[in-house]
Amino acid sequence: MSRKLTIRALKYNPLSKISKPQFVSYELEETPFMTIFVCLTLIREKFDADLSFDFVCRAGICGSCAMMINGVPKLACKTLTKDYKDGVIELMPMPAFRHIKDLSVNTGEWFEDMCKRVESWVHTDKETDISKIEEKIEPEVADETFELDRCIECGICLASCATKLMRPNFIGATGLLRTARYLQDPHDERSVEDFYELVGDDDGVFGCMSLLACEDNCPKELPLQSKIAYMRRQLVAQRNK
């Protein structure tokens, strides 16, 4: 028993002088466990070879295909059409990032910049001799670091974030999670004070309005809310010193 789906996708090429933003509708037969990835692939093959969108892993782990699906930012590859009762699905590119074309936005440049801003790598003065037995880490500590290392940089938390839309330079939940991740990692020797230098302002942890759509929409169910609160407590304590 299949039904007709209507996919309405925003089309717009910002590099063209004549292109105007418009919705284009495509009608498809629904199949069991159909995802937006399957829909868009079919649309490109059968109806509109020019429709721009991004997929890489198509398995919910690379973060490339985040887009607005009926107004909510989601990973298109993991979104099932059966969850849309009336069979009408509207696709738009995510706000908060530079628009490339149609459903495609430039998350890569934003995330590389974020990495540089929070210096998202281990800071240490230790020299590691890789021929020697590795440093011991408590198993629970390694697991906790992993829990915070699971962000896939899809950008959904930013597209969900009112602060980010008003304050373009806001580091967002993902940037704050990254600081919490390195604060937690025993390999990193940075102090709370060091992190205060990076994100202790309104573009960082004090800009967050705690609306928490970031955590609501995060496809990896990361503890964004508690980690932002944690960083804020740490940094407030630092400021009051």
Binding site: N13, R44, S52, C57, W121, K136, A142
Partner: protein, 663 residues
């Protein structure tokens, strides 16, 4: 005219490319890295199970070392690999995993005391040593003597990729994403860099460098059923092929993974079976012990895949709208284990099939079917990673064939290879760039740029008869129907003929959007599909000519491994203007092997056409070993006497392990 210069240029932003770029950056040379997607989205992120490295920390890894890792790798390759490369690899892998730990990759660690694991479908308690507490843990994988696969739950690749990408950013690697290399520039002898197309605005840039490395991954997307990401189209290898000089090697060596989920083809990691999961048929019966009593579900991937297909052919598959499949049952591992160590697997099953694999009984079984997974073949290089036919062009990772995997790769060895090759080849590459600073003739660069622009313009203006997507899908079907797990001469001949026809058609397609200065996915297909067809032809033609079965290459009409005639690598190259690749061969020298060809330990016995040199060499090896052991020589000295190999001193250094120190 856009020209950018750097000392080194890396094409591909997965683990191999990024790790190699870091190696260059550490020598204070400028390095530019081009990637078709943001680098952290690379297919490396999809690695679930882990990377092999003989740390020997856990109770089930005790006694592990480079020798065992080497031997497993050579057997796994069905003696098709370059043993010197396998040695280089096994020696460096522990260093790679330890380096990543120091970069913050949160490896799962050993907890001292007893823990319950599932071995051969039985709950078993093992005791972890106090001394190992806090060191990097490892799980079991197919075809290995020890539990050697280091992991982070089932998100190993994600964590490794982020660790390495962050380190690349720290080391000021200039990363340019959404930039696709479309042509290699060369003067007939030396590589000058590449022409690349910006996928956001269509602009062409000539990236000129002293050395160029291709690390663009595999070519799974030439198959209809594949676990590979949509970007794995093999076009990195194809542009090397299009130089007319570089050779692709062993392209017919294509690995099929036993447990992608049906129908999406998303992989459920080998860790499922490594941790104790089993395969079941339509009756819920565990069939693998009947076929492979010794290794069961953990025989090597080619063997398990074939046994599964064999069982389906016997009518024991489960009927479904997507064809027959089998079941993977991990519920016996327990919900707690699954929710900690196989969380992504659970998520995939739930999202894409509405199944919770932690549910006991048939309700929690996941439908699986072997699909294309890995490309053992690739751009042929020396053990240093440099092409033998084009100076200054290097390759590493899955895109390359320095030939570590031969005809079958062991699980956990590819993700290990990416970083290990990134280190070793990256170091040789950095050296090359430092030493080779000749002045470049910009006229050649200009010619390449102009030619490429004209080519893309003419392609956009094509108003041909054919639809590029139809051609692409037809190719995928041919590859899946006729060049997959079971191959016959007849099927392969048909495949080659049909692919050749498709290739000709692909040169005459219609492109609707004529714009060159924006993202134009249709135009992108128009230049990628002919390249994919070239790669597909190398695979199919190599398979047609190879009249034997070795590793993942299985010929029903030639079921034996033929060491007498086929101890050789296939090399394919492409002469511009022709419609078919040309083929030549490169002999493997049994008399130089540390481990001469023998039985693999799984699969049918006596299925080899023996080469008399194997016995001769084995005698030599045995006598050298016996003599040196009697003289009290250690394993390093004996190894050196059997098969000396080159490796940078920093990587060749002995690896320390608990309990045995450096021995």
């Amino acid at each position: 005219m856009n020209i950018q210069y750097s000392d080194a240029l890396v094409i591909g932003g997965g683990l191999a490319g990024l790790r190699a770029a870091i190696e260059v950056a550490k020598t204070d040379q400028s390095v530019t890295l081009l990637s078709i997607c943001p680098v952290k989205r690379s297919h490396s992120a999809a690695v679930q199970g882990g990377m092999q490295a003989s740390l020997g920390n856990g109770a089930k890894g005790e006694g592990d070392n480079e020798d065992l890792h080497f031997a497993d790798t050579v057997k796994g390759s069905d003696w098709g690999c370059d043993q010197e490369v396998a040695r280089m690899f096994a020696q460096t892998a522990p260093k790679a995993v330890r380096e990543l730990a120091s970069w913050g990759v949160p490896w799962t660690r050993v907890t001292k005391g007893p823990r319950t694991v599932v071995i051969n479908a039985q709950k078993t308690v093992i005791e972890e040593k106090e001394a190992a507490h806090g060191l990097i843990n490892a799980r079991d994988f197919g075809g290995t003597k020890k539990w050697r696969t280091c992991f982070i739950a089932d998100a190993t690749g994600h964590c490794m990729l982020y660790g390495v990408a962050n380190e690349a950013i720290k080391n000021e690697v200039k990363i340019i994403d959404r930039m696709e290399a479309v042509r290699i520039m060369h003067d007939g002898k030396k590589c000058l860099g590449v022409i690349a197309r910006d996928l956001t605005n269509g602009e062409l840039t000539a990236f000129v460098a002293r050395g160029t490395m291709i690390a663009t991954g595999g070519y799974g997307r030439i198959y209809k059923q594949t676990t590979n990401a949509v970007i794995c189209e093999g076009t990195g290898a194809a542009i090397a092929l299009e130089t007319g000089l570089c050779r692709l090697s062993n392209m017919e060596a294509v690995q099929f993974h036993p447990t992608p989920i049906v129908p999406s083809g998303i992989l459920l990691t080998e860790g499922c079976r490594g941790d104790g999961g089993v395969l079941r048929d339509v009756d819920g019966y565990r069939f693998m012990p009947d076929y492979e009593p010794e290794k069961k579900e953990l025989a090597s991937r080619d063997v398990v895949s074939r046994r599964m297909m064999e069982h389906i052919r016997k009518g024991k598959g489960v009927k479904s709208p997507y064809g027959d499949h089998l079941w993977l049952d991990i519920s016996i591992l327990g919900r707690a284990h699954i929710e900690k160590n196989l969380r992504d697997v659970q998520d995939i099953c739930k999202t894409f099939n509405g199944i919770d694999p932690a549910d006991e009984g048939p309700k929690g079984w996941a439908p699986v079917l072997p699909m294309q997974h890995y490309s053992m073949g690739g751009i042929r290089t020396k053990p240093t990673g440099e092409s033998q036919w084009l100076d200054g062009l290097f390759a590493c990772g899955e895109a390359a064939c320095w030939d570590m995997h031969g005809f079958n790769r062991l699980g956990g060895n590819s993700c290990a290879e990416t970083v290990v090759a990134g280190m070793i080849v990256g170091d040789y590459f950095a050296d090359y760039c430092k030493k080779n600073g000749e002045v470049i003739d910009t006229n050649i660069v200009k010619d390449f740029l102009t030619k490429e622009y004209e080519y893309l313009k003419s392609l956009a203006n094509k108003d041909g008869k054919n639809d590029v997507f139809e051609i692409k899908n037809k190719m995928k079907e041919i590859m899946w129907e006729k060049v997959a797990i079971f191959r016959t001469g007849e099927g392969l001949k048909e495949a080659v003929d049909e692919l050749e026809e498709l290739y000709k058609k692909s040169l005459d397609v219609k492109v609707h959007n004529k714009e060159l200065d924006c993202a134009n996915p249709e135009l992108e297909e128009a230049y990628r599909v002919p390249r994919m067809l070239k790669v597909a032809l190398c695979v199919a033609y190599g398979a047609l000519l190879r009249t034997e079965s070795r590793g993942a290459h299985y010929r029903e009409d030639y079921p034996k491994r033929d060491d007498l005639n086929w101890m050789k690598r296939t090399l394919t190259y492409w002469v511009e203007g022709e419609n078919m690749p040309r083929v030549e061969y490169d002999e493997l020298d049994i008399m130089k092997m540390e481990m001469p060809p023998a039985f693999r330990g799984y699969g049918a016995k006596g299925n080899i056409i023996e080469n008399p040199l194997s016995a001769k060499r084995q005698e030599e090896v045995d006598s050298i070993r016996e003599k040196m052991e009697n003289e009290g020589k250690g394993r390093y000295e004996i190894q050196e006497a059997l098969m000396p190999y080159e490796l940078q001193a920093k990587y060749k250094a002995k690896n320390q392990r608990i309990g045995v120190d450096y021995e």
